[in-house]
């Protein structure tokens, strides 16, 4: 049923994610700059970049087709849709009953696939290289993600995110069970891979030996690039948001109460900012691993996810 409260929750969390995504990137860059002893460009810089890029002239590189032009839109659209489907602020939302955790994972993969197609569409060596590497990583990430989903959905008997989150709030013991912890660590590793962060991909490199995401989007400029950047930031934000929602679900509104919703939005901001800042601080001391060492990392996370599933049999939990 379309309740007013649900609609407000939905709109508020989507707006918060959209407005906050570039700011999160800004915070992360600022943390990194601070730790490296630089002044940094300020938290608002990503928004300024987006504005600048949007005002530039749209460019179509020769030989590219509809896939190249549609990809930025699809990337942003999947980000928006995921932001709507994940109960970031409240579980009472009209979107929550239309898709579950598997749908969320699949939507994120849809964004990856579209971008890879756009990379191939340019017909340049860089585009193909980025697409090839991205799809390799994406293919290997899938098993870990779905096994973690399996481990997380076992206690509540449903893959519906609202049910999982409500269950975890009602029974805090579930949070500290080995199965849940292992699944969260596994999810955290694949989140790094999905968001294209260190140690899997370096978002700030343009060296052909190492770049993955940047190689795919090398031909984009102007307003299209603005959407690509925004899409990548949205993706990072919703992934961190998903992780925060599953790891520390406290504060998410489970009833139709306005103060609870407001508190949930504030807490969401704090949780995601803290996660992002932590990630940025960790990244200062990490190095990017070689592309062919990434499978090792992903095999490790797969093992963790499988252990999470098995641990829920032999460690009876609460």
């Amino acid at each position: 049923m379309l309740s007013g409260f649900g609609v407000v929750t939905l709109v508020a969390q989507v707006l918060l994610v959209v407005a906050g995504a570039p700011l999160l990137t800004g915070v992360m860059r600022q943390v990194r700059a601070y730790l490296e002893g630089r002044a940094g460009a300020g938290v608002l810089q990503p928004w300024r970049d987006v504005r600048k890029l949007l005002r530039k002239e749209p460019i179509t590189p020769t030989g590219t087709g509809p896939a190249f032009r549609a990809a930025p839109l699809v990337l942003v659209a999947t980000g928006l849709l995921v932001a709507a489907l994940v109960p970031l602020a409240g579980t009472v939302s009209p979107a929550a009953s239309h898709g579950d955790l598997i749908v969320v994972v699949a939507l994120l993969a849809l964004g990856t696939v579209t971008l890879a197609l756009a990379g191939l569409d340019t017909g340049t060596a860089f585009g193909g290289m980025g697409a090839s590497r991205e799809m390799t990583i994406a293919a290997l990430v899938e098993p870990t993600i779905l096994l973690s989903v399996l481990a997380l959905s076992m206690p509540s008997g449903s893959t519906s995110l609202a049910a999982i989150v409500t269950g975890r709030i009602d029974e805090p013991a579930r949070l500290a069970s080995p199965s849940s912890l292992l699944a969260l660590v596994a999810l955290a590793v694949v989140t790094l891979a999905e968001a294209g962060r260190l140690p899997v991909d370096n978002p700030s490199t343009h060296l052909e030996l190492t770049m993955v995401h940047e190689a795919m989007v090398l031909e984009y400029a102007g307003p299209d690039l603005a959407l690509i950047e925004l899409g990548a930031q949205l993706r990072l934000t919703v992934l961190l948001g998903l992780l925060a929602t599953l790891a520390v679900p406290w504060g998410i509104a489970t009833t139709t109460s306005w103060p609870a919703l407001l508190l949930a939005l504030v807490l969401l901001t704090i949780k995601v900012t803290a996660l992002g800042a932590g990630l940025a601080a960790a990244e200062v001391s990490w190095a990017k691993v070689r592309l062919f060492r990434v499978p090792e990392l992903l095999a490790g996370s797969f093992l963790l996810a499988l252990l999470a599933v098995t641990a829920s049999y032999f460690l009876s939990g609460a």
Partner: protein, 676 residues
């Protein structure tokens, strides 16, 4: 006379007149008439199947039609599902085929090809209607023979067709032998050869015999469905057949392997024990991962599609196996759900794979090329075909809003909830099955991004690709029908909820799948999980519009300017610099090096004057089918060895041959004397 019997009669009559038309009519109108009659066969099959899916059944027996046993037919919801799928594919492919063969050129327009096509279509529709061992085997063999003839149609053009034909002929007949043995054993022990008698007599069989019957039949059915390790014929025969035949084989014929497994395993043998279904599930998971891994590395477009068939049928077998396991574990509702997911995947796979093969056929017709490394840039030359292939790829990668995602979602749901079923087997096998499905979905994404991105996007890499033109309208119409079916399956799969429940019920699984129509919603014990495809598609469109509107609102300048690609200052990139299918798959090939054991060879030729200057580098990369290499080659070598030894027996002397006979008679008499 009800709908089903009328439709079946029409289908049979259409096939016979179609065959006659194909043989008798002149080249100019042959393909038109034969094609139209094939479409009639398909439409009749679709009608019969749809009618059966609404809950009607029909059975008949014609004792005088065939000597000794007669012909028995029975159509219930389970056969109806497979008949409807086959019929729908046949209709679309027949329309496409008229366009493909128009103008009467090429071997596919020849008399034999046009005469056999309607017969093959009819067997596809009629096999699920058989309800006695003899009828089933007869139709099964007719299907194998007609498809073999069609595979061989282009044998004069390419030598590879002949070897593919031999592989297919040998393997399909080995399968027939297994099936014949299994069903004959079953019929002998159960005391009758009609399916009713088998069903009633299944409990008379000892568990060992039942297991043996199941293993024999499953081996035959799995080989027809292209399951590892009995898949060797599939990636050869499907690519070498003319494209509309490939579409029929890959989208309709392989399904009958699933039909057979469900019919014999659940319906006739009554579900049986746990290890049967464990075998089915493991076979399915192995085929899914191995098939899609080979597809990811394939550079031949049709070979890629054929290997993807192995993958998808593997996923179906995972569902069927899980259904059996849940049934044995005492959770009929979940068993029903798993089987419904498997059957839905059969339907979805038929849709996107038929579309994929027909689009690949259009590319082949326009360029003469199947090698992805030499294609490219087709989206500008053949925009309609490219977008139709994109739709097929969307289905195949199992991502929303495609149709493949719907059934994979259901399958995953059934496996995830299956952990509640008690038992060590489920606890260990199900997580691994989930991982296998996930890995195959991820690799499928890589495979189809490659097929679409390298084959259709970027710039043409060969003169043939540069000169491509769009296909004729009839071919596009055929593909359009399939595309519409895919879209409908993707957006409103809920309408199939009730028919699927009936099909599951017809397989004698007692559980009703907890599916609700409209949007796909699962009612399971405590909470429900839902996926609303129509809602999601609408939300995706809304988000796209929002993103576009946002971009427009902030934009100052709206005119797009064309610009050169970034060229590192070295002049415009040529198509030779673009990533090929081989280079795209190289990282995955390296990751799965231990599994695939690819053969690579780098040959450097130096300039005569100095070893520091390179004149030419030759790089070859081949990924042989390792299972084939390890399993079949030694076996074939063994047979060849035995054969060459046996040749010594044939010395050429008449006295020796007569001597064999004499020795045989004497030895037999001796043995009989001793035994008495």
């Amino acid at each position: 006379m009800n709908t089903i019997s009328t439709a079946l009669a029409v289908s049979g009559a259409g096939a016979l007149t179609g065959a006659a038309a194909g043989l008798g009519l002149p080249a100019r109108i042959r393909s038109w008439i034969a094609g139209a009659l094939t479409a009639v066969v398909g439409a009749a099959g679709l009608a019969a199947g749809a009618s059966a899916l609404t809950g009607r059944t029909w059975s008949a027996s014609f004792p005088s039609l065939l000597p000794l046993a007669g012909v028995r037919l029975r159509v219930d919801a389970l056969s109806g599902l497979f008949m409807a799928v086959a019929g729908a594919v046949v209709v679309a492919v027949a329309v496409y085929g008229i366009g493909y063969a128009r103008g009467g050129h090429g071997p596919v327009a020849s008399r034999p090809a046009q005469a056999v096509l309607p017969l093959f279509a009819a067997t596809l529709v009629l096999v699920p209607a058989a309800s006695s061992v003899s009828t089933f085997l007869l139709l099964w063999e007719l299907m194998a023979l007609t498809s073999l003839l069609l595979v061989l149609v282009e044998h004069a053009e390419r030598s590879t067709v002949r070897s593919a034909g031999i592989w297919y002929a040998v393997m399909t007949h080995l399968g027939l032998v297994l099936l014949l043995t299994g069903l004959a054993l079953f019929a002998a022990k159960a005391g009758g050869e009609s399916f009713d008698a088998l069903r009633a007599g299944a409990h008379l069989l000892s568990p060992t015999v039942r297991g043996l019957v199941f293993v024999l039949c499953f081996a035959a059915f799995a080989s027809k469905a292209g399951a590892v390790p009995l898949h060797a014929w599939l990636p050869r025969a499907h690519p070498e057949a003319p494209s509309q035949v490939s579409a029929l084989m890959s989208a309709a014929m392989v399904n009958l392997g699933v039909y057979g497994t469900v019919r014999v395993g659940f319906d006739l043998l009554g579900a049986g024990s746990r290890w049967w279904w464990l075998t089915v599930l493991v076979t399915g998971a192995a085929s899914a991962v191995y098939g899609i891994l080979q597809a990811t590395l394939a550079t031949d477009l049709k070979r890629l599609l054929a290997y993807s068939t192995c993958e998808n049928l593997g996923l179906v077998f995972v569902g069927v196996g899980a259904a059996g396991l849940f049934h044995a574990g005492g959770d009929p509702a979940l068993a029903g759900l798993a089987l419904a997911a498997a059957l839905l995947h059969v339907v979805n796979h038929a849709g996107f794979k038929a579309l994929g093969f027909t689009a690949a056929g259009s590319v082949l017709r326009a360029t003469g090329e199947r090698n992805l490394d030499r294609l490219g840039g087709l989206r500008a030359k053949m925009p309609a075909t490219a977008s139709l292939f994109a739709l097929a790829a969307l289905g195949a990668v199992a991502l929303p809003p495609g149709n493949g995602f719907v059934s994979e979602w259901l399958l995953l749901q059934s496996l995830i909830h299956g952990l509640a079923v008690p038992g060590l087997t489920t606890a260990i096998v199900l997580p691994l099955a989930v991982a296998a499905i996930a890995l195959s979905a991820g690799l499928a994404a890589a495979a189809f991004v490659k097929a679409l991105g390298v084959g259709f996007f970027a710039r043409p890499r060969s003169p043939q690709a540069t000169g491509a033109t769009e296909s004729p309208a009839l071919m596009l119409t055929g593909m359009g029908l399939l595309a519409a079916a895919c879209a409908a399956l993707a957006l409103v799969p809920g309408v199939l909820a009730d028919p699927l429940a009936r099909a599951v019920a017809a397989s004698r699984l007692t559980g009703i799948p907890p599916l609700t129509g409209g949007e796909l919603r699962l009612r399971l014990t405590d909470t429900s999980a839902a996926y609303a495809p129509l809602w999601l598609a609408a939300a995706l469109v809304v988000s796209l519009v929002l993103a576009g509107a946002g971009q427009r609102a902030w934009r100052r300048r709206s005119r797009r300017r064309a610009a050169k690609l970034w060229d590192c200052g070295g002049g415009q990139p040529t198509p030779r610099m673009a990533y090929t299918a081989t280079s795209f798959a190289e990282p995955l090939q390296r990751v799965f090096d231990d599994v695939l054991a690819p053969e690579q060879d780098v040959n450097v030729t130096h300039v005569r004057e100095s070893i520091y200057l390179v004149e030419r580098v030759r790089y070859t990369n081949r990924v042989p089918d390792r299972i084939e290499h390890r399993l079949y080659t030694p076996l074939l070598a063994l047979f060849a060895e035995v054969g060459s030894r046996a040749r010594r027996l044939a010395a050429g002397s008449v006295h020796v041959y007569l001597g064999y006979g004499f020795v045989g008679v004497v030895a037999l008499l001796g043995v009989l004397t001793v035994l008495k």
